[in-house]
Structures are given as C-alpha cells and as structure tokens.
Amino acid sequence: MSVPASSASADGVRTDVAGVAPVELDRLRDLLLGPEIARLDGIAQHLARYRPSAEEMAPALAAALDLSQRAQPSALTQATWPLVAAGLQRSLEDSPQRVVDILFPIIGPLIRKSIAESLKDFAESLNLVLEQSFSPRYLRWRFEAWRSGVPFAEVVLRNTLLYSVEQVFLIQRESGLLIAHAARARAQGADSDAVSAMLNAIGDFVRDSFAGAQDGELSEVQVGGFEVQVQHGPVAMLALAVRGVPRLEIKHRAREALERLHAKHGAELRQFAGDGGVSPGIQPELDALLAQEQRAASKKTSLFRPGSLLLLLLAGGTLVSSCAWLYQRWQQSDFLRLLQAQPGIVLAARSGRDVVVLRDPLAAPISSFGDQHGLVIAERAWLSLDPPLVLARARRILELPDTVNASLNAGTLTLSGDFNAELPDGFVRLARSVAGVESVDLGDLHSNDPAQAFRSAKAEMAALKIQFNEGVEMAESALAQIDRAVRILSGLRGARFEAARLEITGHTDGTGLESSNRALGMDRAQAVAAALGARGLGPARIRLKYSLNEPASASDLSERRVTLRLLPAALVP
C-alpha cells in the first residue's frame, strides 16, 4: 500500500511522512546529505567558471583533430581554412624569407615544369606550322590570306585549330575507375570504363617502364586522327579524346578544369570507390569542355554554308573568266605572230588591246582582222624593202604589163618578156627611183617599138667591152660579151633596124709604134669580126675600125679591147 509523501491533518497542521514535521525533515536532510550537496554546489560553480588551460588541452587536441578529420573531413577543412589562410598571410607579412625557404625545394621544380610545358607548347606550334607549310592546304591558305587581307599566320592558326572534343574522362588515378564521363552525341567508342582503365594502365606502364617513379606522366596518345590528351592531378586525371588538331589552349582549359575539380571535390575524388553517382558540380565541368569545343568543330562544316557557296560560285566565275581571258590572249598572240610574219607588216607597239602596226601600203589589209580578235589596230604607213613588196611597188610605178616578168636580186631589178609598147623616156631612171631598187637589167626585155628597141640595143651594145690579153689573144670574158652582142642584134625588130650593122673598133695600149698599134687594133677587130661571123653575122653587116683619136696609155691594159657600136642601116655608107 502506497503512502503519500505529505498530507494535511484535520486541525490544519501540515505533516509529512509518518507524521514528521517538514522542519525536522530539512534538518534530517542537512544531517545526511549536507556535505554532498555542498560539494555538488561547489562543482557546479567551478564548472560555471571553468576555462581550460593550454596545458590541459594540448594532449587532447591532436587526437580530437584526428577524430574530426576521420568523421567529417570537409567540416574540419571548412572550419580550419580561415585560420590557415590567416596564419599563412601573417607568416608572409612577418617573415617572407621563411616562406621562401620553405618553398625553395618546391618552387624550382615548379618553374622548370612550367617552362618545359611552355617550350613544349611552342615546339608543337612550330611543328604545326612547318608541317602545314608544304601541304596542299598551304596554297589555299595563302590565297585566303591574300584575298581577305588577313595575315597569313592568322589564317594558318584559324584553319589548323579545327577540332572536336569527342569524349572527356575523369579517372581516379589510384584505381583507374571512371569517376565521370562526358561524350558528344555522335561519339562512338569502346566502353568508357574500359577506356579509362586502359588509359590508366598505359600511363602506369609508360611511367614505370620509361620514366622514374616520380617524374613524367603520359600526357598524349595519338592514333590516326585521334589524340588523347591527359592532364594529371593528385588524385584524378582528365583525359580528352580529340578528333583533329586541337587548339593549344585546350590543354590549359582542361588543366584549369582539373584544378577546379580538385579544389572543390578533392575529397570526393580521393574517396571514390566506384559506387556511382558524383556531386552535381562535377559533370558540368566535363560538359563545358565538350560544349566549348563543339563550336570550334562546327567550323568544319562551314564549307557548305551559303556564304561559302557564294564564294564558291564567285571563285568558279572568276575561274571561267580567267580561262576565257587566257584563251583570248592566246588567240591574240597567235594572230599577232601570224600578222608579223606577213611581208610589209611590223608590230611596233602593244598596250592591252591597242596595237600599233607599221604597214606598207601594198601589204595585206589587217584592220578588220583586229576586230575579230578583240584588238584595236592603228596603222602607220611605211615602205617595206621586202622583195615581194619592192617588185609590187616597181610594177605599180613602172606600169609593167603582165607580159613582163620582174625579179629582184641584191637590189638589181631584172625585167624580161614583152613590154608591148615603147619604153617611155627615162624608164631606167624611173626604175632606179623605186625604193629597194639599186640597178636595172633590161637585157631580156623586148619592147614593141622598134626604134626604142634599137636605142636600147644600141646603148646596151655600147656598154659591152671585149677584152684582150697580149696581141690578139682574147680574155676569158670576151666570148660571153660576143654572145651577148649576137643576142642584142637578133633582138632587133623592124626592117630598118634588123639590117643594122655593127662597127667594131680595135683598141691598144700605149706601148709600141702607132703603126704597129694600128695593125694590132685592126687585128683585134678582125678577130672579133671572125667570132661574130662564126655566130652567123655576115661580113656585110660589119665595119672594122681602129681607134686613132682615143689616147692610149702604156700602163692601161684595159685599153687592150674591142668596142662595138650599133649603126642604123641607113647610116652605113
């Protein structure tokens, strides 16, 4: 049966358990629990005033941090980061040399690595330019630079940097497990987990086989048109599968992305165990690398954009026009070459379509042909000394009939055939005035005017000289002269002139007596007469004579000769 701890009596006096008054109970409590209550109060006051000393906390601090790091690594990092940052800043301000000393073993390799990376990038750029310098695209880019006015180096840069980042792998270095993966929609390839594992294996193989354990990492793999660029971080690596020739800056972007991933998600990357699912911030970093490169890759299809098609049409039009222009130029050159081969035509000057030509009036007409070939021809008159034109000019000036043949040899105009009319006075002089004619030979020209023919024959006969050596011995040229005299005589027409006679005059040099010379002269005339007689000229038509009135010179051997003079029949006594 339960008993209440206190109750009120009927007379109103308050009593407690077993009828004991409260005052007594308080006394009893003080007697039994007083010392403990006093100690508890003291402890409570002590705790309220307690401030742990450094000596008391030091042993526990390290263990506490260790426990916190294991339980909540990110929370501890977040909590201590301001302290670390402030401490570092303070240390830099107070004792920079100390920081320098600490960083000294690190800063050297860092600088060397940075310089090596820069030199490698520069070498790659240089290699790229050299490789492209002799390719077919080189000429196209030259033309593009010339057409657009853009510096050639910039054109090369713009064209060679077309690429497409097909896939991006974020791989845990320790295990080779794929942490995250991004790929373009059209990208095809092996299982991404297998690829990431294989990249990791290749990296291990290369590093362990060819490089030291600490330095060197696999940074590039090239297969055909693909290049895999690998950036290494402390716990993860980023691999980019790139189609084409990547921009150099892609490495920097990837490196920056990897640094951001380590900064924001370092713990997660380190602890990744393949359980799937990563922080939301990781995938966008990978996608951004794809998205940025897709714009560059789209330039590859620019060939079929409207602007390019228009450019293509313009280029085609230009090509057709150029071909037509070249064909016309070829035709013009061919025409001018043939033109210049014509007698009496000389190409004096040419400027574009305008051509200046020197043309003899007797040469072929050419102006109309110039129009056919797109040329404007200006003619300048001149006299050509081409033989065909000299002959044509002589025919026109001398009014030679078709029965007269004309030829030109070394400036001598030789006429032959029948003139069919009386040769005009001064015919020979007129012939000599023709440009290109220096002398005239009318030997075989027959005139229909007997008197004129006789005069011509007479003049020609007077020009003959039949030379002799010693005595009556004829020179070698003598017989030809005699034959010529016979032809002149046979060419005479008309009864009066056909009966013309020939006066043969013998000449001697000045040596010897006059009587002897007279006899010798007559003997020479007689010898010529005999030769003519042998050629059909009867003695009745011959008159012999010795030249008495012509002075003879002892030293002039040319006087050893016989001259002929044609005499009209009526004049012969």
Partner: protein, 162 residues
C-alpha cells in the same frame, strides 16, 4: 550502378585471358597468345537486383609481382588467383602472388581458380585441392575455360564479395 576493379593474377599460360574471355564473351580459343602488360574488359552483372559493373584487369602472367604489375593492382577491389591444375608449380606461384597482393592491397576478397580441369589425365594438382582450400576458408573452384566449367561461378562469387 557501382563499378569495381578486379584483377586476374597467375603464372604464365595458366589461362587467365581464356577465363576472362569465357566469362565476358563466352568464347574460347585454342590459340595461345601471351598477354603483354594488361588486357581490360568490362562486364555488367545483376547480383540479385543489385547491378554491378566489373572492370577486369587481366594482367600478364608472372610468378611474382613486378613494379609494373603492382601499379596495375592499385585500387583493385578484389582479385582472382589462377593456377594451372596440370602444373603444380603454378599453384605455388599463385600463393606467392596472393601474398604480394594482400600486402599491397590489404585484406581484399579473392577467389582461387584451379584451371584446365578438363585435362584430367594431365592433372598434377590433386582433385580435392579445391575442396581442401574451401575448408580452410578460401573460395576455390576447379575451372575450365575450354568447357566453361565453374567460370561464371568463380567470377560471380568474387563479385558478391565486392
């Protein structure tokens, strides 16, 4: 889906690549081609409603783990130890590899495969070896890549431990 890296270890020509090919592609080739470095395959499994993707590193045969082989072993969640039942020495090699792997990886699960069980007449390792190993707490199977005997069981047994 979780992903786990496992390695296949064993001496030369014990059938590591053939076992992997049988498990991943269900094929077997009589032609022997030595593995240079490592071959990697992947296979997705469904373990009683829990999907898992195995990334299988088929390491080149060796009787001791070199520096390169240790690099390949990093991050593995488990491994298969393969010995040739027709060559007793390969089991000794497997035990050496097991010791090195445990030292490098720590206590990760593993499975022992006594391969080429189909060549019964040439067998050098006792028929009850697998059973004895199991009695000692090891997961061990007599397997044949040629016939496919126990291949899937061995891989699945390891997968369940990951």
């Amino acid at each position: 889906m979780k992903t786990r890296k496992i390695c296949v270890l064993g001496d030369f020509s014990v059938g590591k690549t053939s076992l992997t090919s049988r498990f991943v592609r269900n094929v077997f080739s009589e032609r022997y081609q030595t593995t240079v470095g490592v071959k990697i395959d992947t296979l997705e499994l469904d373990l009683a409603g829990e999907p898992i993707k195995l990334v299988i590193w088929d390491l080149a045969g060796t009787d001791a783990l070199s520096t390169v082989s240790l690099s390949y072993l990093r991050g593995a969640s488990g491994y298969l130890l393969v010995a040739d039942a027709t060559r007793a020495l390969t089991f000794e090699s497997a035990k050496n590899l097991h010791a090195a792997a445990q030292k490098f990886l720590g206590p990760v699960p593993f499975v022992v495969l006594l391969n080429k069980a189909d060549l019964a007449a040439e067998r050098e390792i006792a028929l009850d070896s697998a059973a004895k190993l199991r009695e000692e707490g090891w997961l061990a199977f007599d397997t044949s890549a040629r016939s496919g005997e126990n291949v899937e069981h061995a891989f699945l047994a390891l997968a369940k431990l990951l």
